[in-house]
């Protein structure tokens, strides 16, 4: 327990930890503030005005389509060669129905908590996962590269206990930041919705869904923190984790993405990690293959689809954590510390 407390102290004493955490929280705060100032509360007057603008738009569309239909018929009667401007059957030129023109289009952006909050949890998790990854890598990487790990092992010669205690302290620290940040995130967007949008229709089911997404977000933060820690421990340097992730993202993801796209591979995004992170957060990502056309009874062309679910993501991330952390523990146990 003393080692755990000491490692927690070490984590919080490090300036890098403090600055990165502060930076991450400032970015999150900036997102909330940005959303606050780019959204507006809609009152009855604005709604009525938007309805009028929608009506006006509808009338314009009716007038325009009427005019176009007349022009089409005139051109047909005059025998003007059809240069593709008009259809063969002029009667198909019709105005959209009134309900197709929504008043919402004429309203300023407004934050609907029920409809939009779910989406905000993705950047929340992504920013904190990045912070966790970098802090995790630096926490153990700097210890290795400055000789701190060797000093510690002279005091506590149980290697696996030392490494796992460090990891436990790190995850506790990250959790101690993430959980209050999540509560503030909920509160912040609730305030945004209250003052610059709407908090209507929030049922217990909606709250439960948000809570579950939040829990998945926290899990993603912890997973990436663990991976950053394990990679840096494997390479005995912070740069190993950071270099590894840059290599993975640049070569493994962008490069692979370009290669798959050039090879016209079906559902290329299924090979890219961010897709699985997104699927984890949003429960499902549906990939579409626009090269395939599945005709519907109405003659519409629908693409092939492939669903990536959060369960598939959980399997992938679990395997990733087990393999990378397992390798870090194995090398910690076996390696000569020189």
């Amino acid at each position: 327990m003393s080692l755990f407390r000491t490692e927690l102290r070490r984590l919080t004493k490090r300036r890098f930890t403090r600055y990165m955490t502060l930076l991450g929280l400032l970015v999150l705060a900036a997102v909330v503030v940005g959303v606050f100032f780019t959204n507006h509360k809609i009152d009855a007057g604005q709604l009525a005005k938007a309805e009028r603008q929608a009506d006006q738009q509808y009338q314009e569309q009716v007038r325009w389509s009427e005019q176009e239909r007349v022009n089409c018929e005139q051109a047909k009667t005059a025998g003007t060669p059809n240069d593709g401007r008009y259809p063969d059957d002029c009667s198909v030129i019709t105005a959209p129905s009134r309900d197709q023109i929504e008043a919402e289009w004429f309203l300023p952006s407004t934050f609907n908590f029920r409809k939009t909050f779910d989406e905000t949890l993705v950047p929340f998790a992504a920013i904190l996962a990045l912070v966790g990854f970098v802090i995790g890598a630096s926490f153990v990487g700097a210890e290795w590269s400055t000789g701190g790990m060797m000093n510690l092992l002279l005091w506590r010669p149980k290697r696996l206990t030392v490494l796992l205690t460090k990891l436990a302290a790190l995850l506790t620290g990250i959790l101690a930041v993430t959980l209050p940040a999540a509560v503030l995130w909920f509160a912040g967007f609730w305030a945004v919705a209250s003052f610059r949008g709407s908090t209507e229709k929030m049922t217990s089911g909606a709250w439960q869904s948000f809570a579950l997404t939040g829990v998945r977000g926290v899990a993603l933060v912890l997973v990436l923190t663990t991976i950053g820690f394990a990679l840096a421990s494997l390479g005995r340097h912070t740069a190993m984790a950071l270099g590894g992730v840059v290599a993975l993202m640049v070569v493994g993801q962008f490069g692979l993405g370009i290669l798959l796209s050039m090879a016209s591979v079906k559902f290329a995004e299924a090979w890219l990690l961010p897709t699985y992170a997104l699927a984890w957060m949003t429960k499902k990502v549906t990939l579409q293959d626009w090269d395939a056309c599945n005709a519907t009874y109405s003659g519409e062309c629908k693409p092939d689809t492939m669903d990536i679910t959060w369960q598939q993501s959980s399997v992938l991330f679990s395997i990733g954590v087990v393999v990378i952390l397992g390798a870090a523990l194995w090398t910690m146990r076996r390696r000569d510390i020189t």
């Binding site: 490692e7 490090r14 400055t146 000789g147 092992l153 005091w155 010669p157 000569d336």
Partner: protein
């Protein structure tokens, strides 16, 4: 005296596909008795630091047996680590923490009372600079901090690898006094150093290692005596009598080397025989001084690392017990 540290037949081999096999430790033996200051000497690359790292569980040995404070290590290391303070090679600390933070974190990890931090800072002379970040420290100050970290546990056995590195002359003398004080208080100190004059002054006993094997060990006096040549310097009242004295001594079977103002004699068992012999020839001695060997010359002789004019000795070019022409020889160095 009971042994606090025993090593028997310790072996460590590094294998590299590119550079072949190197036997860093090749059946190394060592014994340090309780309450002693024991010097651990060897040329660069001879296996000193590898021995210390292996003893402290940082490196896995390929063979041999080690005990610390009567317990087999590395198996019993977790239980004895609290009584062993150590610094291995150059002092390494997280540069952005202060000395006090560094020691406080180690004390926390080792369940040492926080009050001990100030005690050791005082002891190594860092009290007034304890709040400054380690990255602002000189090498000597880092060395003091390293010694402080090793002393933090108030250990029974203190292992210090090159503790005088970077210290100023005053610091070296302070370190010497500290070692002696610690030994007098009952602490056993194992000191690895290249400052052989210091070792000779501080240590009760020594072990000399060369290419992974022990080449000499025992109390400092005994090691020096074993390698003493029995040389004696003789001066006479009149320099003009030197040729007569040379003749008389040579006739008596003593090897004599003449110098302008004195004679160097070797193979002399008892200096009194020299005075008697010369007196019989009415030659009167003004100085008769046995030539004492120092640890440095013994070290250079044992490890065969004395500089030779015009030659550039390479690391790993030193003596090996059981080397060429000796039984049980195995080659050292990369590619062996």
């Amino acid at each position: 005296m009971p042994a606090v540290l025993e090593i028997e037949g310790l072996r460590k081999t590094y294998k590299s596909r590119r550079r072949g096999t190197r036997n860093a430790l090749d059946g190394f033996d060592m014994r340090v008795d309780a309450g002693q200051v024991h010097g651990f000497l060897g040329p660069n690359g001879s296996g000193k630091t590898t021995t210390l790292r292996t003893l402290l569980g940082l490196i896995r040995p390929d063979g041999g047996r080690m005990t610390l404070l009567g317990h087999e290590v590395p198996a019993a290391l977790p239980s004895v680590a609290g009584n062993v303070g150590a610094i291995v090679e150059s002092p390494q600390f997280f540069p952005h923490f202060s000395a006090r933070d560094t020691l406080s974190l180690l004390a926390g990890a080792g369940e040492v009372p926080a009050t001990r931090v100030d005690e050791v800072l005082e002891l190594v002379g860092l009290r007034d600079r304890a709040g400054e970040r380690v990255k602002t420290y000189s090498l000597g100050m880092k060395q003091r901090l390293a010694v402080a970290s090793a002393l933090l546990k108030n250990p029974t056995l203190l292992i210090l690898d090159e503790p005088a590195n970077g210290l100023d002359p005053g610091g070296i003398r302070e370190m010497r006094t500290l070692m002696r004080t610690l030994a007098e208080s009952g602490m056993t100190v194992l000191l690895s150093s290249h400052i052989l004059g210091e070792i000779q002054l501080i240590c009760d006993s020594v072990t000399i290692i060369s290419l992974g094997r022990r080449v000499a060990f025992g109390p400092v006096d005994e090691v020096l005596a074993q390698h003493s040549s029995g040389a004696v310097r003789v001066r006479l009242e009149a320099v003009s009598d030197l040729p007569t004295a040379t003749e008389a001594l040579t006739r008596a079977g003593i090897r004599v080397t003449g110098h302008p103002d004195h004679l160097m004699l070797s193979g002399v068992d008892k200096p009194a025989t020299v005075t008697r012999l010369l007196a019989e020839h009415n030659l009167y001695v003004s100085e008769l001084a046995p030539i004492a060997v120092d640890l440095e010359s013994v070290f250079l002789e044992l490890t065969a690392t004395a500089p030779v004019p015009g030659q550039h000795r390479q690391v790993d070019e030193s003596t090996k017990v059981g080397g060429t022409g000796q039984p049980g020889a195995t080659a050292g160095g990369w590619g062996a």
